[in-house]
Symmetry: D2
Subunit: 140 residues, 4 copies
Amino acid sequence: MPHTCETRFRVRYAETDQMSVVYYANYLVWMEVGRTDFCKMLGFNYKEMERDGAFLVVTEASCRYLAPARYDDAIVVETRLDRLNRRFVTFGYSIRNADTGNILAEGSTVHVAVGLDQKPKSVPQPYFDMLTKAARQAGE
Amino acid sequence: MPHTCETRFRVRYAETDQMSVVYYANYLVWMEVGRTDFCKMLGFNYKEMERDGAFLVVTEASCRYLAPARYDDAIVVETRLDRLNRRFVTFGYSIRNADTGNILAEGSTVHVAVGLDQKPKSVPQPYFDMLTKAARQAGE
Amino acid sequence: MPHTCETRFRVRYAETDQMSVVYYANYLVWMEVGRTDFCKMLGFNYKEMERDGAFLVVTEASCRYLAPARYDDAIVVETRLDRLNRRFVTFGYSIRNADTGNILAEGSTVHVAVGLDQKPKSVPQPYFDMLTKAARQAGE
Amino acid sequence: MPHTCETRFRVRYAETDQMSVVYYANYLVWMEVGRTDFCKMLGFNYKEMERDGAFLVVTEASCRYLAPARYDDAIVVETRLDRLNRRFVTFGYSIRNADTGNILAEGSTVHVAVGLDQKPKSVPQPYFDMLTKAARQAGE
């Protein structure tokens, strides 16, 4: 199993702004799309984890913007697990233009596991196990 | 009590697209902002109605675009109640440039009341009464 | 050549709202994604048409919402050309859940061709020819 | 002249997600709204600076999320100038619930000045002077 996940899509017109490039907040949406795919690759559906009453709430997000993305550009988001413990999960993202290979942005999000009561809790065991496996492979 | 409600704000950079005008889907967001204010003017908080287990789900939305809105333009959304019965509520919207008075768009949304089970139900009495009052005034 | 175009993607978390379904304005974004693909299927890149100084500005949009879409649902947007003349183009859209086949929404957008000066002009000949071909096939 | 700028608005339904809180990317939109107001307070319209052929492109953005914001919450964004030189401008943001005073998020964005050719250039003199004045006051 690879320890990174690639997600591909094209830039939507809605995502551009009057500078004719993708508006900066949309990269965080793209990270979320990458994250969803990454979790599926590990074998769990984040949707199901929410149904099980556990949520991964974002506590930090950051992005460095290196080159602009434009309407209809082919984008690839590479998602990886950067850090993991019982309470916190950190994902890293490289966003590239799929045709040129140019890096457009590098990002990171930190998540804390919470329950339905919005209070911190441990990542439920089966999900934690799947994340651990991914963390190990990333470290190899 | 007036039978229309005016909501004012400025165009966000995020709302523009590469044509340097506001992206067309954002007018539906503005209608929602107007709707929220209209309900407050009637004396109810839509937020509370949701807490009471009743939701106004959109079943139809339409918009005619007459002139473009640009970044930082002052916008005014005029919201009114166009039709009302136990099951359906229709809101109408006129969106203007607040400085020039020019009409930018005319819109309409139709809503059906549903419960937590997503099944149609009547608009709860106290909310229906407030809407009825507004419908009467609009008809006068 | 088929006269409709299918575009497939999954619902993003960003597209949901607190009712746990896709926020209504996002269906207009999906229509735009379908439209982009439809134009490509006909053989032209809308991006290039803009570079040639011709824009298809939305003058009307409407949507009927039949069933909700939820996070991570597989969506298919079917786009077709509904009407065409020198000045106006009307696209129609059927949005379905790709797994169940259920229709989620039916939409329509009307566009007018404008130049860089934002004044109406005819759809440029090569693009008009490609649209005409699609219109003919749709009529057969 | 104060050296921070306060921007107030209410959470839009569109900004919530299925966790019933504001989706994390929207905080970057709010920062942009604060930034626009901050520049106006200094005496310049960012819109005009773009017309003069100078753009402040985001090169870094980060946000720490401390407490959730919910639909219709009154929000206040406090924007300040954190660092300034000829090429780079750093803005800082504190986002609070206007009713409770609770801090919801702390953010930061770094911008580089570019020309119409997308190449780095110095911030144009009149704009730089206004930013310098604000930087001095912030340092006092």
